[in-house]
Amino acid sequence: MKSSSSSSEGAEGASIWQRWPALVYLASLATMLVVWHAIARFFPPMLFPGPIPVFARVWEIIVSGQFIVHMAATMLRVAAGFFCAFLVSIGLGIFMGVNRTGERFFEPEIVVGLTIPSLAWAVIALMWFGISEFAPIFTIFVVLQPLITVNIWQGTKALDHEVIEMARAFRAGRAMVIRDVVIPQLVPYLLAATRFGLSLAWKVTVIAELLGLSNGIGYMIHYSFGIFSMLDVFAWTIAFTLVMLALEYGLLKPLEARVTGWRRAVAL
């Protein structure tokens, strides 16, 4: 009796923030906007426009159709580069995880790849391939590949061999072992790789676009810089960030919660 009454009290006593976690996120966003608005009041709008004019401008570029055109260009580049990097990394990462010699051979490649600044790659790609779609895609590929490979390599090394042995003892075939035993263990690493990889891919693409392309979000930020319109720089950056947030909270987070839900189970 006593324990049940105290536990129900605990649920009622929980603050509003604990009962609706989404409220915390909203409060966080609201705080950001208020702080931004407050700071902007101390500066001329030419240098630091506040949230109200910026969101008005965001609305304008969305309704005018400009945003969709440039966002689509950027997204296609990110998707192509990311897809190629992911494909190569899965093969290479698993190979490095299971083969000691392969691991030693490719490790320096990974370290070098992680060290070279992405800006350097963007410049090199533009000088090699000129103003073409291939330059940004190549840049994304070479920047992302070592990063994703590291994740998959570590995930493969962390595989629980005891459950693989169990599956073999029960005569599970190779396809079944891979599908039911190996891949579920790699999924958290694949998700982490996707998240890091995508966030880096956006930044790299924008740099490549800024340096030498004629469309995409990066180009538009550069163009706004050319006409010295801080309002446009802010508007394009914010609009782009909103799409990224929607992807993160609308797609990646729910996906992660779905496929790794078994980890949250609490022992009795």
Binding site: E165, M166, A169, A172, P184, W262, A265, V266, A267, L268
Partner: protein, 255 residues
């Protein structure tokens, strides 16, 4: 189905380049329907024997013969209960049991029904939709036992399956295991370092030496099956095993 090991040798390579002899000339026979316990101290190579029978480890020399080699050992249907549960934590309890059934070629619909039946048998039918990490260690091990039994194996291999459990749970599961075994009448190889557990369960107890392990002695437990662990005859047999292993507790007391 009779299982026989003939002259099994096994060495494992070591980090420093040498090798570690684990099994030396291990020869034993488990008769059809027999409950055989293998007793030895920790790390003496007991698990290696089971892995060789299961085909997970290849011996350096020697043979595993099933029914005098009339049956290919790799075709045997083996239920294996490991020291740790070794469950697939991303699958529900029922899916874990169904996994073993599918691996051994049972159609999905039948696998589901049989998984439910065997989970019921180990008292976990209420928990079949839970994920393993939501269960206690003892319950996880019962899932592992249900998984091994569900495939209705030709041979059941058990590697200290109760050693991580509290004694009360272990007692209940030992009695359950005997009850199920008496119905199925399939051979069991049960590895343990607990001599009393061995004499309580077994028809035949094989005593292993330290590394490299070889069979020191084989013991028959001819007592009827409604055994009590406190039975003085079992305690006397336990003493015999401990003496064979050179663990002379009595002489220490006398000093």
């Amino acid at each position: 189905m009779q299982i026989a090991l003939r002259g099994i040798h096994k060495e494992f390579p070591r980090q420093n380049g040498g090798s570690l002899a684990v099994l030396r000339d291990v020869t034993l026979t488990v008769e059809a329907g027999e409950f055989c316990c293998v007793v030895g101290s920790s790390g003496c190579g007991k698990s290696t024997i089971l892995n060789i029978v299961a085909g997970l480890t290849l011996p350096d020399s020697g043979q595993v013969l099933v029914d005098d080699a009339r049956i290919d050992a790799s075709r045997m249907r083996i239920g294996y209960v490991f020291q740790k549960p070794r469950l697939l934590n991303w699958k529900s309890v029922r899916e874990n049991v169904a996994f073993a059934l599918k691996a051994s070629g049972t159609p999905a619909a039948e696998a589901r029904a049989r998984a439910q039946h065997y989970l019921d048998l180990v008292g976990l039918s209420q928990f079949e939709d839970e994920f393993p990490l939501a269960l206690s260690g003892g319950m996880q091990q019962r899932v592992a036992i249900a998984r091994a039994l569900a495939i209705e194996p030709d041979l059941l291999l058990m590697d200290e399956p109760f050693s991580h459990l509290d004694e009360l749970t272990a007692r209940v599961l030992r009695a359950e295991l005997l009850r199920i075994w008496q119905q199925a009448r399939k051979p069991v190889m049960f590895v343990t370092h607990n001599a009393l557990e061995a004499v309580y369960l077994a028809d035949q107890v094989l005593i292993l030496s330290g590394r490299p392990a070889t069979i020191l002695k084989s013991l028959r437990v001819g007592l009827p099956r409604d055994r009590e662990m406190e039975d003085p005859r079992l305690v006397a047999l336990q003493r015999e095993i401990l003496d064979a292993l050179g663990i002379t507790g009595a002489s220490v007391v006398r000093h």
